[in-house]
Symmetry: C2
Subunit: 294 residues, 2 copies
């Protein structure tokens, strides 16, 4: 049995943030580039991805020391994707988490390069972690490149941009979210479980868990876009509607979207039971994903 | 003793290009993204980096099969760096190798994402190569991320952009070139030698060789910018002078630049002798770098 989710967050969110700062301080790079990387890494956020990785590890093992390099790498890749997504040529966002986006705080060239640098450094962090065996490093790097690259997150961003000016059906919408958000969640859950020495069968059930967690995350994002308060989510409410992007509430109505989310939550719980991980923080994270208000 | 450099190029340039195409065909990504990645990978170029890697391997071993994943990964990373460097927010180039740059042939968002995808996929290619041991994969990935990331190539691009509107001295100029061009050449030479089982001492001499090869490459680039023919180098002659970027001929004069290049060539040859590799293609490549006309 585990403690409260609040306590888990309190303990590990600060710790993973400290590790990220240390990794950036280790860089022997130009001051301007380091500052731009640090700016976006320090811009806050819930750190859901690294915390999910650590929760998955703790479902099977203790002492999270081995998870910090992959947890930080994952958050760096998430951060790079936000920097590039916000660029004028992409979503053209000026504000992210209540602060100027990277290209607004610096300039476009610096933002592109800070993203490139965070992406590349992620692989370096894992490759140089002395606590990991070569076999573990290769597993993590292979999974991280697969989930974040042209078969994963980057493909999701391409499809997402193509879908901006048209309505897409639920299946196409889920494909986009699966790639754009779900792949990194899959990395989080699978990497943690692998480092915690879960069995292959347990990991395949956790893949299902991660899949539904991604969908819950997105449905809730869409619901918040309609009913949330602007100051809580840090961007203009209904910004997705403004650019015609399809959302769950548009396709199913608000009530339908909430029901869909509850179906996904039930399926995520079932997957956790099959993975013998239903008494872990992973279980409590389902409700956290489903009920978050920002 | 080795055969002629012409024969070496003929044999391996086509082969490494075929492998790159196969790696891209293996992708299960969206059609648009694959097309944009393929466009720039197929845009030609001398393939100097992968060929240098293979030449370095052949100085110590036979059967280059083990080199193809790292050779292709290296060229993909070089290609991603060109795509991002050409963007409007960076060098704003419309033409590369006589063809529209990626963001002109597609659009800016696609070009940014195609670059991101090539970078990420490079690590995946190496991580999934069944011919390599886990130890070899980790060595290559660590070296590739170090040389191409915020301690390497990306830092060079940041410094290069900062130097565009001012004159810099020779030392600062060499720092920029060392990072922007030299780091990937270091990867090429070191990765090939490592896979060919060169000793640590030989590899440290080859680092010197790679260092001078990078400088030769850049001096010759600058000389060609002044005296070259536009149709051979595929971009407007004196384009660097137009944006005030410092060059060797500006700092040393044309004759001084040529003398500097010859000093570097002598030092590269000395390093090769110390690495017991002076009867390899690496030796012939010094003159090739020094005398290339495009």
């Amino acid at each position: 049995m585990t403690g409260s989710l609040d306590q888990f967050f309190k303990t590990y969110k600060t710790e993973v943030e400290n590790r990220m700062i240390h990794f950036l301080e280790d860089l022997n790079s130009t001051a301007q580039l380091k500052e731009a990387m640090r700016y976006s890494v320090n811009a806050g956020g819930k750190r859901i991805r690294p915390l999910l990785l650590m929760a998955s590890y703790l479902a099977y093992a203790k002492d999270v020391e081995k998870t910090y390099s992959s947890a930080a790498a994952l958050e760096f890749i998430h951060t790079y994707s936000l920097i590039h997504d916000d660029l004028p040529a992409m979503d053209d966002d000026d504000i992210r988490r209540g602060k100027p986006t990277n290209h607004k705080a610096f300039d476009e060239a610096t933002a592109i390069l800070a993203g490139d640098a965070l992406l590349t450094y992620s692989f370096e962090i894992v490759a140089q972690d002395d606590l990991l065996s070569d076999r573990e490093k290769v597993y993590l790097i292979k999974l991280l490149s697969e989930t974040s690259g042209p078969n994963g997150m980057v493909a999701g961003q391409v499809l997402d941009m193509a879908a901006e000016s048209k309505y897409v059906d639920l299946e196409a919408l889920e494909t986009i979210h699966k790639l754009k958000t779900g792949e990194l969640l899959k990395f989080a859950v699978r990497a943690g479980a692998y480092l915690g020495q879960a069995t292959d069968e347990q990991i395949s059930h956790l893949d299902q868990y991660a899949h539904y967690m991604g969908l819950i995350f997105q449905v809730q994002d869409d619901i918040l876009d309609v009913i949330g308060e602007e100051n809580k989510i840090g961007k203009p409410v209904k910004s997705d509607e403004g650019n015609l992007k399809s959302t769950y509430p548009q396709l199913l109505g608000i009530d339908g979207a909430i029901q869909q989310k509850e179906r996904y939550a039930a399926l995520a719980k079932e997957a956790l039971q099959n993975a013998n991980a239903d008494e872990s923080y992973l279980f409590q994270l389902i409700d956290y994903f489903s009920k978050r208000d920002h």
